[in-house]
Every structure is written in structure tokens, then in C-alpha cells.
Amino acid sequence: MNSFSLIAAILGMIIALALGLFYFRRGETRGQKIFAILGSLLSIGYLYALFLGNLSILQTRDLLSSGGMLTIVISLYFFLRAETTRGHWFVAGVTLSTLGLLYGGSALAGVEVLSLFSYLVRTMFVLGGLYGLSLLALNLQWGYTGLFNIGIHGFVALGAYTSTLLVKPSDITLGAEHLAETPIPAFGLPFMFGLIGAVLICGLFALLTGISTLKLREDYLAIATIGLAEIIRVAAQNLAITGKTRGIADIPSPLFDWLVKSSEQDTTGFVDPNYYIWFYAGMILVALLIVYLAFQRIARSPWGRVLKAIREDEDAANALGKNSFKFKLQSLVLGAMVMGAVGSFWAHSARSITPDAFDAVQWTFLPWVMLIIGGSGNHKGALVGAFLIWALYSITNFQNDFLPQRIAINIDWGFFKWQESLDIAGRFFGPIRIIIIATVLQLILIYRPRGILGEEKQVSTLVKH
């Protein structure tokens, strides 16, 4: 530890403290004051670790990414909560200050800041945007209409595969050599067709599912959607057309050839391949904005009000002459269509898809947790929940960098022997991540159910008139 680090650390922490106090005094509400404190603490903590801790490059990068992500997420929450313009500026100020300290400090310490920042924004916007879209769809189905869809991962997978099959040109074969004999029948259509195809197919399957189950109790829909998702997974894993377990690779991205210079001499493109993702992120954000605005309008429209009425008291809605079945079906289908679009976007940005990429935890469980934490029935809250949990999920990636990958075990009690090099990473990290999030979910359900539990805790059905 040299004197430079020491000075930088102390200086940085003083600045962080000063800024913290500055903002604290000027904060209007208690929430804003808390935010100021949080930003300050985060900066101080990070700067300490950066200069005085003994971190490896990898650990530093992870810390920085997570810190940046957390800052943006929390600031989003407070930004949406702020009522006044002054409040908005305040939040922006705290955010920029925190980020400035984090990244500025890192730059001073010699960390490669620019590409990290780029990575941060990319991940947040692309994946966060996709989760946001899923959440809007889920919120429409559950928050507004009370439909219990736990097969989101199925619809997303369906959309992804459909879009892929429509867009892939037919002369490119599958990912692995031994599958080269069975080229998938592909159409090589432009991206928009893939998107629309994905949307329509998902709508169709949602329609079929809804017709069978919407007249029954709500948890039957849950079972049906999770069953459907399971079937889609099995199909993806076992049909030649979907590349079996290897999946499909070399998926074209929209406008890629047009936008990107494949080499120095290429005159058709504009841009370095690395920056393509900004375009894609932009595209997703535009889609997110469109869907968000559309759903906001829907929510305020007569159709939206009927949906809410159905959620509150379906019998009453029926009595008033509204065919609740029809409305529920429409809501289910519309939501599923958006989920299909998510799949399509995902496939074309990831550029290869496998059946495992659409697992239930990542695409169904997480959105539900986001929805519950963000508060259902509320689009704004849903979006915040999305970014928040995504950050939490990514942060737990920490484990990879701060914990050992393997542990040697040597137990010999005579009748019980256990000697191996325990693969902690493969065996623990994934599950621990899930346990953390699932536990958070349970705690939220227990202590802050916020309207999820429904209006009144009834003593028994005997109490209903």
C-alpha cells in the first residue's frame, strides 16, 4: 500500500462524506435523505475497498459493476418516487455524484473504466429492458386481471425459437457438426417477420391454454402454463428442428450487416461491432417505451377498468354484463404476445439459443419476485422491481470472485469416508443465489404482502354471503 493510495483513499472518502452531508441537508423528504446517506456510504465503502483493500482486478471489476448497478437501480426507485422537479434533480445529483466517485476513483486506481461502464449500461439496458417487458406483460395478466401465469419461460422460449426459425437463412446449419445432415427448415426472413411470428405463435398458444382453463379456478391456469412451458422445453430439447439440446447458433441480428463494419475496408457498415449492442439496447428500450405507454393507456381505458373489476370481483363483473371469460382471454393472449416478443429480442441479441437458456428460475420466478416486490397492479412499481431484482441477482455473482472455487475435503471416521475436492462453484453458487432470492421472496410475502393477499382475510367460506 503506497502513499498515493492512502492519500487518494482519504481524500476520496472525505469528498464522499462531504457530499453526503451536503445532500443530506438539502434533501426534501426522508427518503431522499436516506438516499443521500446510501450514496455516501456506498462511495466510502467502495473507495476504501478499492484503495486500501487487497482486491484482485476481477474482484474490483465486479465490485464496480455491482456498485454502479446498485446505484442506478436505487436511484431509479427514488427518481420515480420523487414528486417535485427539485426532487428529480436531487436524485440525479446524488446518482451522478456516487457514480462519479465510484468510477472516478476507479479510474485513478488504474481500472479500465470506460469499457466497464459500457458493459454496465449494456447489461442493464438490454437484459433489464427485457425483464421490464416481461414484467409489463405479467403485470397485465396478474396485476390487472388476476391471471396466474407461471409459464413465462415457456412463452419466451416459444417466441425465441419461432423467431429464430423464421429469420435464419437456410444455408446456415446448426451448431454442431454431427447435426449438419439435418439442416433446419429456415426461411431467412427479415427480423420483423421473426418478431411478428413469435408474437403470433405465442398468442395462439395462449389462446389455446386460456380456452381450456380460464373458466376454471385460477390455479388450474397456473398448472396449465407451467405444463405448457415444460412441454415446450421437452420439444426444444428433442426435436431436430430446434437443434435438440445443442440449440441453434449463428442467429442473425437485425440490421447487423447494415450497421456494422465487418472489417476496416467494409464500406457498408458504420460502426465497430462492439457498439452494435448499443443499437440493440436502444431498440429494446424503444419497444419497452412503446409497450409501457400502450399499457398505461390500456389501464386507463374502459377495457382496463373491466380487467380490474374482474380481478376484484369476477361475479360482480359478470353480473354487470361483462363476459369475464372474453376479457381474461384477451389479457392472457396480449401478455403472452409481449412475452413472445421478449423471446425474439433475446434470441437475436444472444445470437444462439439452447433449451437451457430459458429456465424457470430466470424467466418465471424472477419476474414474479420482481412483480411482488415492486407491487403489482402498478406499472411503475413493476419496472422498479425489475431493475432492482436484476441487480440483486447479478450482485450475487460476487460469489464467483470472492469465494474459492474448490475446497478439499478430507474426512475419515472409519465407517464414513469423505474425501474429495469439492467443486463449490458448480455445486453451491447457483443454488445459493436461488436460495437468497427465494428467501427474500418468502420474507416479503410474510411481512409486506402489499395487496397480494387480497382484500380481506376471511375466516372461512362460510362467511361469504
Binding site: 407461471i150 382453463t213 398448472i223 396449465a224 421437452v234 375466516v459
Partner: protein, 367 residues
Amino acid sequence: MQQSQTHKSFFIRRWQLTSLISLSAVFLLFVVFNEGANKWFFDSLSTLHAQGVQALFSGIRYGCILLLGAIGLSLTYKILNFGNFAHGDIMAAGIGIAISLNDIARGVITSLMPDLDNGARELYSLLFAFFGTVMITPWVSTALDRILYKRFRKAKPVVMIIASFGMALIIRSLVQIIWGTQNLGYGQHISITPPVVLVELWGREISVRISTQDWVIIGAAIVLTLLLHFFLTYSKLGKAMRAMADNPDLARVTGIDTERVVFWTWWIGGALAAAGGFFFCLAFGPFRLFNIGPQILLSLFAATVLGGIGSPYGAMLGGLLIGLAQNVLIVFIPYEFNPTAWQPAISFALLIVLLLVRPQGILGGSK
């Protein structure tokens, strides 16, 4: 407002009848005139002919396993008004416990009685594992209720399902942490091909492979269901359990100690699930433990709904039927699609058809 399904059993409504007929007609036309479909159909039939009895047997065996799991699921579904998505993973946990107990027992027996022959040693350790898991696993499901579900007694089913989904993930993760990602089993000598039994049926000699384990599974399932039956029919707690399955609110009003009944329902459900899991590993092991939960859950739900939620006997029937369906109907799936992977698909398809035609299941009361 609701359709009048309640009075007539298997009353098919007109639209269902017409769609059934037209679909069958289209199907038949297709099979007759399309060469590919024709070939597929008759190929499948001949496979059925050749392997039908074996498939029947595998179906019964699988059905026995399913029914043990489905009983607990069905009871808690009715009494507590939600589908416990963690049930499959509890079965998986039961398997894990059985495997560990088996290993421990084998180790202990080997060091205490080194001269014992292989077969006997395996038998004793398996017995230890069986009774061990049947005694230990129920405490997992009752703990689950105590810690989590109890708080939601008055909540909407949706909350409970989400909570149970979360618990399923937690248990699955714990299973992965504790038992890892390798293939695990009882270390039994599964590589020995089961002996061939010759059966005479309709003048034909058919060879079927049945191993001792298969007989054990079926026998044990019979014994357990009989025990359950006696318990439900003749004991006060058993009757109270049936009463609660009929009408939990009335049970409370009658003065029945509902929490106690709920506790024992979870306990028995967990014990049966552990037994089912034990046999599942016996029949299909070794495998990766953490995958088992979600795989088997769909079939369990199908069996539960098929039999009628709340009826333990319905769950038994449903389990057998789903088991049979899954093993017999896969002859219709062409080989290149990897038929065994599609078994849950069969359950799902049956479930959807069931929900369309008779959602209350076979033995269920009116919705």
C-alpha cells in the same frame, strides 16, 4: 353461471361431442390417406403389440410410485386449498435422505459384519434407508407448513402457490448443495438385466422383464395403500382427515382440531412421498437428484386432478392411470423424437383434456 356438470357423471356436452367426433374423423382420414401418417400409425400399433405388456407393467410400476406422491398432494390441495408446488422436491429430498442413509448403513454394516454376503448387506441397508427416509422426510414437510404455510392459512391460493414455488426452489437448491450434481443411486447392481418372465396371453407367449425390485415396489404400494385405507376408515384421525378433505370449514365449525389434522396430513403425505421417492430411485436410479422434483411434479398434478382433488382414492386411481398412460402411449411417439423425454408431455396433454371435459376429476365432488 357455471356449467351444469355437477349432477351427471361423464356427461359430455354437445360441443365437446361434436369436436371429438370431427377431430377423430380428421385424424382417421389423415391416417388412411397420408402415407407418412399411415406408416406412423401402424408402426406404433405393432410396437404396442410387441411391447404392450411390458409397457403395461412399467406403467403399473410407475403408477405405484406416482400414487404415493399424489395422495399427499391431493389431500393438502383440498384441505388447504392450494397446490403445493414443493411436493416434487420433497420427494427428491426424500430420495436424497434415503441414498445417504443407505450409504451410511452399508458402511456401518461392512465394518461391523464384514463377512456378510453382498445381497444381505444390500438388503439390510436398503431397509434401513427405506424406514429412515419414511420417518425423517415427513418432518421436512411439516416443518415447511410450520415455518411458512401456516402463516397463510387465510390467504388466497395464489399466494400459497407462489410461496410453495419459492420453497420448491429453496429445497431444490438445498438438495443440489447437499447431494451435488452427480448421478446418485443406491449402488445396487442395476446393471443386471431383470430376468425374463414368460407370460401367456391370448395364445401368444410374451416375454416381459420384471425384476425383484419391481415386485417389491408394487407390493409395497399395495401394502401402504391398504394401511392408509384402514387408517382413513377406522381411526378417528383418519375420519377427521376425510372430513376435512370434504369441507375444511365445516370441520372447524364441528370442533375438529384442524391444526392437528393438518399436521398429520402433511406428515402422512410426506411419508408417502418419501416412500414413492425411494421406489423411484430403486426403479430408475442413479440419476441427478435436483432434476427429479420438477420432472415428477407435472405427473403428480395430473394424477391428482385426474383422480379428483381431495380424494386419496382418486389420487391412487389417478396415479395408476397416469403411470399407465405415460408408459403405454409413448409407443405413438416416433423414435427420433426421443420418446421417454415426452412422458411429461403426455401427462400435460391428458391434464388439458381432463380440464376441458371433467375438471373435478373422477372421484372429485362438484367443483
